[in-house]
């Protein structure tokens, strides 16, 4: 094969590659749009009036996740199954965001940390790499870290709205998350950078709990929460 023939073949390969990327980008854009819509729905909980109809908002968000599932299903067929990591960068960001949104919904509903398997179920993807389009563990953890900062904000706003028990529950939750993340040996990458922000979320919530404690506002809340559970 002559040199020029070789380069023509290679050029063909590169063009095909670019076409795939273009297709992926299109789907990812629609995914980002849906993710923004879900976020808008869920942002309502920060409003003072929003605390009453949390279940309704979660319900609405879950309906949007159906759209996400179809969009992810169409993303799956845009590239060969075994080349997930080749194009990973394209959907990494939006997938982390979707994990956060799913985790937020699950937290609002059950006050538990969503498991990785549950997220994959909500998003309609696979849990393990061997079986197709899956959720990378680092993306899952990044999404969870976003949840932590969202919850520290929620703690502040729930006090403003007069809900004094929620910050205590959030505090317990975030502390558990924190000790979970302490178990990990993170490399010096983006996940590690995000993790370094977790301590500020922890601190913020502790301050809220402290403010409530010295004013005696947590007493009734604690008993209230204890009774609730």
């Amino acid at each position: 094969m002559s040199v020029s023939e070789m380069f023509i073949t290679l050029q063909g390969v590169l063009t095909a590659d670019q076409d795939i990327r273009e297709e992926i980008r299109k789907v990812v854009q629609t995914l980002e749009q849906t993710a923004r819509e879900i976020l808008t729905v869920l942002q309502g909980v920060h409003q003072g009036s929003g605390f009453q109809d949390i279940p309704k908002k979660c319900q609405k968000a879950r309906e949007h996740f159906a759209t996400v599932r179809t969009q992810l299903a169409s993303l799956k067929v845009k590239f060969p199954v075994d080349q997930y990591y080749r194009f990973h960068e394209h959907w990494r960001f939006v997938l982390q965001r979707l994990v956060f949104l799913a985790a937020f919904v699950v937290y609002l509903e059950t006050e538990n940390l969503v498991t990785r398997e549950a997220v994959t179920e909500i998003l309609g993807i696979e849990a393990e790499r061997e079986r197709g389009f899956h959720l990378d563990i680092e993306d899952y953890l990044s999404g969870v870290l976003t949840l932590a900062s969202e919850l520290s904000r929620l703690a502040v706003n729930s006090v403003t709205a007069g809900d004094y028990s929620r910050p205590l529950r959030i505090s317990a939750f975030i502390n558990e998350l924190d000790s979970g993340f302490r178990l990990l040996n993170l490399k010096n990458d983006s996940l590690r950078k995000r993790y370094d922000g977790l301590k500020y979320d922890v601190k913020k919530i502790e301050e809220v709990v402290y403010d409530l404690s010295i004013r005696g506002l947590n007493k009734e809340a604690t008993t209230g929460a204890g009774g609730e559970k």
């Binding site: 094969m1 002559s2 040199v3 020029s4 070789m6 380069f7 023509i8 290679l10 050029q11 390969v13 590169l14 063009t15 590659d17 670019q18 075994d82 080349q83 997930y84 990591y85 080749r86 990973h88 006050e111 538990n112 940390l113 498991t115 990785r116 790499r129 563990i137 680092e138 953890l141 028990s165 205590l168 529950r169 505090s171 317990a172 939750f173 502390n175 558990e176 998350l177 924190d178 000790s179 979970g180 993340f181 178990l183 990990l184 040996n185 993170l186 490399k187 922890v202 502790e206 709990v209 809340a221 604690t222 929460a225 204890g226 559970k229």
Partner: protein, 291 residues
């Protein structure tokens, strides 16, 4: 329950020397078996496994790079040595050694998505492409194709000790395995772009040795490669277009060398050519420094 746990964790962080040590431990114990902690323990395991594999691959890639570089240096001696065949043969054994390393990479990547660890091994593979294509050029005066390279990177099992070490026991015992590693088109292109730098050096060296034919062959070959890269242009990734600039410089050097040979070659006795040429290259080097 959650409220109680919360205050426990709260105390733990804020006052580490707080006297209620016992209660804190209790809380920790109940923490450490909670679902969240358990799942994070499995995450720890998964992440550590992944990072370890990545580190092993980085190390292998560095070994491959070093060995390939040595092979290239070794091959450069061919311009001055009378025993070309010997050098080629020895370079082949060196490359076989490199391929053994690549085999280990292939074994590490068995069942994995190659692109997940691509960043770890890409530099080594590029260097290998450079070395193997350089050797191929010296042998056949043509460009090795990516298929040819990949063909050499298919490894069957043989009964050496080292593999049993590398392999996990169970998969090893069943049947003969075949590992293969595919060089990606981009790695190939980047390797070939590096090759042109080596060819430029080879051209200058051969002039120094009074070899007048090789530079012309080289300039023609380089021009073909340059045309190829221009054809790809910016459809390729960013790194490829970055190399295009260096490639242009190498080509200019070789073309200037040929020009000098043509113009002065007829005037100057052969044994003095080297001197003329060495001053000429100095001038080119200075120009490069400016641009």
């Amino acid at each position: 329950m959650s409220g109680k746990e919360g205050t426990g964790g709260f105390r733990k962080r804020k006052h580490d020397n707080f006297p209620h040590g016992n209660r804190r431990e209790e809380n920790d114990n109940c923490n450490s078996s909670s679902a969240v902690i358990l799942s994070f323990k499995s995450f720890q395991l998964e992440l550590d496994t992944k990072h370890d594999k990545y580190e092993r691959l980085v190390k292998l890639s560095r070994d491959i790079t070093i060995e390939s570089k040595r092979t290239i240096f070794f091959l450069h001696r061919i311009t001055s040595a009378p025993n070309g065949e010997e050098i080629l043969m020895e370079s082949e054994t060196k490359l076989d050694f490199v391929r053994q390393k690549i085999k280990q990479v292939a074994q590490e990547l068995m069942g994995e998505d190659m692109y997940q660890f691509h960043r770890a091994i890409s530099p080594g593979l590029q260097e290998y492409v450079e070395a193997v294509s350089f050797q191929y050029f010296i042998k056949t005066r043509s460009l090795i194709s990516i298929e040819e390279i990949n063909k050499q990177l298919i490894f069957a099992e043989d009964n050496k000790e080292e593999e049993t070490k590398v392999l996990s026991s169970d998969s090893h015992n069943k049947q003969p395995h075949i590992w293969s590693l595919k060089v990606t088109p981009v790695d190939y292109l980047l390797g070939v772009a590096d090759l042109t730098g080596e060819l430029m050096r080879m051209c200058i060296n051969s002039v120094g040795n009074g070899d007048i034919d090789t530079p012309f062959e080289l300039s023609q070959f380089l021009r073909q490669i340059y045309d190829g890269f221009s054809y790809i242009g910016n459809t390729g990734p960013y790194e490829v277009s970055k190399k295009l600039y260096t490639l242009k410089q190498s080509l200019a050097k070789v073309e200037n060398a040929c020009y000098t040979l043509k113009v002065r070659g007829s005037e100057i006795p052969k044994h003095m050519l080297a001197d003329v040429f060495s001053t000429k290259t100095e001038i080119i080097d200075q120009e490069d420094g400016l641009s």
